[in-house]
Amino acid sequence: MRVVPVLALVAASLCAKPAAAADGASLYKDNCAACHRPTGQGIPGAFPALAGSKFVQGDAKEPIGRVLHGRGGMPSFQDELTDLQIATILSYVRVSWGNKGKPINPTQVTALRGGGKRENAKAVLQAH
């Protein structure tokens, strides 16, 4: 059973945010915020901003594919996150910090999952 602290319940009801948004925020914080920063501003010269990004708000296939398969400095999350988690994070990112993209549902992630090659795969026990 998941214990929800009373304060969080109060805060949630005050803000009247759907549960998915709260989950999205916490999933984002855990998995994305190190590079893209808590406010989605990224780190100039290193990691792209998600706030105001056309890529993030545009065709859902693009950001889903990026999270699943990685590219550049971005790792693949296909083994670490479920379709629901990826959809939740991306939906959060697409409507946060002034972004106005459409939410993403898990079936859209499922549809893109098959066949993608993992770019960052590495036998970890054989690292340098």
Binding site: K29, D30, N31, C32, A33, A34, C35, R37, I43, G45, A46, G70, R71, G72, G73, M74, P75, S76, F77, D79, E80, L81, K117, E119, N120, K122, A123, V124, L125, Q126, A127, H128
Partner: protein, 531 residues
Amino acid sequence: MDRGLLAAGLGVSRRSFLEGLGGVGGSSLLLAGMSALGFGIASAQAAPPVLSGGGGKKVAVLGAGVAGLTAAYELSRAGYDVTVIEARDFAGGRCQTARKGFKLTELGGETQVCDFDDGNYINHGPWRIPYHHQSTLHYTKEFNIPLEVFVNDNDASYLMFGRGTGPLAGKPIRKGHVAADIRGGAAEILAKSIKQGALDQQMTAEDREQFLAYVVQEGYLTKDLAYKGTEGRGFDLPPGPLMNPGPGKPSTPNSFTDVLHSGAWRTLASVSSWEQQRTMFQPVGGMDRIAKGFEGAIGQLIKYSTQVKSLKQNPKGVEIAFVDGDGKAGTLKADYCICTIPLSVLRQLDVQVSKPFKEAIGAVSYALVGKIGLQMKRRFWEEDHHIYGGHVYFDDPEINSMTLPSTGFQGRKGVLLGYYNFGAQAAKVSALSPAERRALAGRAGDRVFPGYSDNIDSAFSASWHLIEHNLGGWAQWSDEARASAYPILCEPDGRLYLAGEHMSYMTGWQAGGIESAWQQIAKLHARAHAA
């Protein structure tokens, strides 16, 4: 191996079955033979190219990591006029060692100041030198850097597989136990199958006899072809003096099923891979001794705390714009440039190169990598568990490995590596504050060694993807980028040559940086001489 053939046992003579197996291994056998003769597949180059007559031509080297230092050292010795531009206020690039006073501020993170006791350190960058990296070993010898063995395989160390099933899952078990038991169990099944005629159709009686003899020895089998343990896996009570313990008490093997389902056998092949084989070395006192060796020889050529802003070139030379440590802008003109800046950083700079070259720079990805060094108040892994160096394999990918120090044995304190994570897990862990990372490492350690977290008295962590001037642990070429982009970058673009671990098939190893520098300066030299 063609399993279909083995299963069917048809359409092939007994003799050609074995020859067929040999055929599959043909090329590797050939290579092994070559190594024995000294023509091995170790470092492609074991010594730098012999260059002379540089004639004062100017070379700008961008980056004072081991690749840049190598280029600068060899070119200056050959008579070139070399200037190295380095963003940091010290040389070495990723060849860093954190010891007392070492500072690191990750992008968006708080500043950590290493607070280990004097003499203790963590190599948060490169930490191992395989014996066949003759190029790296060339410079440790050149600069009289004492080496010690890095214990990369330790039978006494633990495997901890929380994701397995059965009674051995989630418990620390000695690597030597797992190795012996899985070997013995597999050999027993194979030997009994042979006895029952499973290979009668495939092998001649003579081959079978030898094969069985091998399997019996390999699996420590008894006369009735059973695996009942081996003294090699240790004793419940080790042999000793007089009558007590006298002969001691042999150990009891784990059941084959339990070992299989624990999943712990998955680690066994890792230390036999080419890059992980014994003998493994480390410099005494820290990996940055290598950087210091170069610095002692050519430190005067390095402009520290100086950041490259742009690179322009024309048919006559290159011009590098930079900002120095005082914030003053300047330019450096040279005949040639060796650029060792990681591609993760170079892709963001204003560099005048052809379009295909520019695109190729952007085609590679960089590894997200995290490490943490934990100074322990007491060397409990030695004192209580008799583990001297080596890795505790831990199948939580936020941890992967807890590596015990290969230095300072039997001392009071020691610094161990608390995690070594990659990719998505490295991203996740790097989002934590240094204190939270320390706590995470401590919680994992407590599952292996009682009292682990209570023993931590200082921590220092690094997330390479969040470190300015690196933005990643090492280059990761996809097969596609290796085929299309990499060859473009191997050739100079105008007067610009790239070197670094990314310009090799030894990515992430210092040898890749050194040997790529050797090849590029040889090319540069040939061209300068021809000009």
